[in-house]
């Protein structure tokens, strides 16, 4: 069984690849299964990449309730910004385990680089580049996302326009 002593980069990598596949396929309910019951999903504003939610204005700062509501919204054809849905393709690399958290609930901190291409009909391809920062809990059923922070490299969102999909 996976534990803090035997976890390897490739375990995290496999998990992140699987998550990316679910998000690109818009299997959002399946994606929710990868989250803990207290999960957080955050995207800080471009000019405050190290900002603290609650003190600085983020673009997304969801607790688990709002993550679930976000999925409800995205599955509704009335979520106009994602209807018709954009097509996304995520390329994930440079995966690293950065922290080993011992305690009642073992967890690792992990980082990865990403490039996401987002396509919509009659629009330029929009490219999102940045770093994922995760806290992944090691559960009997496997890794689960406790925290997921998406830090964009760009100085402003600019031509990317929106974060209407799960980035």
């Amino acid at each position: 069984m996976l534990n803090l002593d035997n976890i390897h980069r490739s375990d995290v990598e496999d998990f992140l690849f699987q998550e990316a596949a679910l998000l690109d396929a818009w299997q959002l309910d399946d994606w929710l299964e990868l989250l803990t019951e207290n999960a957080q999903y955050m995207v800080p504003s471009n000019d405050e990449p190290n900002g603290k939610s609650g003190e600085t204005l983020f673009m997304i700062s969801d607790n688990i309730q709002r993550i679930r509501e976000r999925v409800v919204r995205l599955k509704d054809p009335q979520a106009h910004a994602e209807f018709p849905r954009s097509r996304t393709r995520r390329v994930i690399s440079n995966v690293r385990i950065t922290d080993w958290v011992y305690g009642d609930q073992p967890a690792v901190g992990a980082q990865a680089n990403f490039v996401i291409y987002r396509h919509r009909r009659d629009q330029d391809i929009r490219t999102y580049v940045g770093s994922y920062q995760y806290i992944l809990e090691i559960r009997p059923e496997g890794l689960r996302i406790a925290s997921r922070t998406v830090v964009l490299d760009a100085f402003e969102l600019g031509q990317m326009g929106l974060l209407s999909f799960i980035i």
């Binding site: 405050e48 939610s53 009335q78 979520a79 209407s164």
Partner: protein, 435 residues
């Protein structure tokens, strides 16, 4: 204030205004033609007062923020005496920008190209090889240039490129009352821009965001997923009364000089000060405390005015102050006829507790911004309009007559406030029509 400021009936290539016939139409070319944008840069953006930033963004001597406004690079800063200053960010030698960082604290502004430097007061105080300049060279006249006018109203900083600009307070007209309603939320009357900027482009004409920012007619269909989210979280969304489209009463008002507002009875949460279940049980005492302070300081009637109404204000031409789920300052500049750059900030009272600040920022994200539950659908609507506008030669006119048959009060879902914007736009643009 709610009666429409109606000029005589007229029609031009851009607007048909016929109050007697209850007809108002806008020609779609105004939203699509690059030539119109060229004229707007001169007749609107170089004529009006334009928002640059907020005094709270620079606090100490030497503090600066650089930003582009009306296509020009600016430095918003505090000088050596801690006075608020606005400089054009261009070296007097060859025009290179003298401050290339986003923000910070400067001892001087240094142009690396040939080494000219300026002190915090904008004076030219460093010129390598000065001896080679002839006697006619006068360094005193070569300080960083300033726009013809800089004006500040309750810490909101504006510039005007118009040498004949009227005083800012006169220009703001009825919009001042609505800025006051925001500022009064701070016990000391001091609000601050919270760190973190949302900057994103919309592929649409800038005037479409003006319309959208205070158009409640679109709320029920464009934002149904947001309304569902509110409902599911425990907010009561009442069935609209007869003749209404919204869950609560709200009016549209023209405020003079093209400024206008929608002024709505609150039905959703407000950091100052209406608790909703989304804020969490533990936030209740904090919101109650804020409310009590407000009543204590302003009296029951004024506190109710401040805390129980939501107001979306457009300060002509391109500043939006939305005071609803949170307060947002939003300003936008055209990059092309079909492309704009949007910048948005959150604003809060300086004395807000960390708990109240967290509620404010969380509440902001329920609705606003590129990852919010509502703004993305606004952006989609605007971009969708812009695509459709390619048919402007075949279908030239958009009807904007909602509410015109009414005497007196106009609803937030009527279009008086949109007409007020367009009438001012027309008045300022008229000299360009004969060109």
């Amino acid at each position: 204030m709610s009666q429409e400021i109606l000029p005589e009936a007229f029609s031009s290539e851009f607007i048909i205004n016929n109050p007697a016939g209850q007809d108002f139409q806008v020609n779609r070319r105004a939203l699509a033609d690059p030539k119109v944008l060229e004229a707007e840069m001169r007749h609107i953006f170089d004529t009006c007062w334009i928002y640059v930033g907020h005094a709270s963004e620079v606090r100490e001597p030497g503090d600066f923020q650089t930003r582009s406004v009306c296509g020009r690079p600016f430095i918003l800063c505090r000088d050596s005496q801690n006075r608020l200053r606005v400089f054009l960010n261009a070296c007097r030698h060859r025009a290179a920008v003298v401050c290339r960082e986003r923000e910070g604290n400067a001892k001087s502004y240094f142009c690396f190209y040939h080494g000219w430097s300026y002190n915090r007061d904008g004076e030219l105080d460093g010129i390598p090889g000065r001896a080679s300049y002839p006697d006619s060279f006068d360094a005193k006249k070569l300080g960083l240039a300033e726009p013809p006018h800089v004006g500040v109203y309750k810490d909101f900083v504006f510039v005007s490129f118009n040498p004949q600009a009227q005083p800012l307070e006169d220009y703001l007209a009825g919009a001042k009352e609505y800025i006051d309603l925001i500022v009064e939320q701070s016990p000391s009357g001091r609000m601050e821009v919270i760190r973190g900027t949302q900057e994103y482009d919309i592929r649409a004409n800038w005037k479409l965001l003006v319309e959208n920012s205070f158009d409640d007619y679109h709320l029920m269909t464009t934002h149904s997923t947001w309304l569902n989210y509110m409902k599911r979280s425990g907010v009561e969304i009442k069935k609209p009364e007869r003749g209404h489209l919204m869950p609560a009463h709200g009016v549209g008002k023209a405020l003079g000089n093209g400024h206008a507002v929608i002024d709505n009875v609150n039905f959703r949460g407000r950091p100052v000060a209406k608790w909703i279940p989304l804020y969490g049980e533990e936030a209740k005492p904090e919101i109650e405390r804020i409310r009590a302070e407000l009543v204590d300081r302003l009296g029951e009637a004024r506190a109710t005015r401040v805390a129980d109404t939501n107001r979306n204000l457009v300060v002509f031409p391109n500043l939006v102050l939305n005071d609803g789920s949170s307060i947002t300052i939003r300003t936008f500049h055209p990059l092309a006829a079909d492309h704009m750059q949007v910048r948005a900030w959150a604003l809060g009272p300086v004395e807000e507790t960390p708990k109240a600040r967290a509620i404010r920022l969380d509440s902001f994200l329920t609705f606003y911004g590129p990852g919010g539950f509502a703004t993305p659908d606004d952006v989609e609507a605007l971009e969708s309009v812009q695509k459709g506008l390619a048919t402007y030669r075949e279908v030239p006119w958009s009807v904007m007559s909602r509410g015109m048959s009414k005497v007196g009060e106009q609803l937030n879902t009527d279009e008086l406030h949109l007409r007020a914007f367009w009438l001012r736009w027309h008045e300022l643009m008229a000299p360009s029509f004969e060109e």
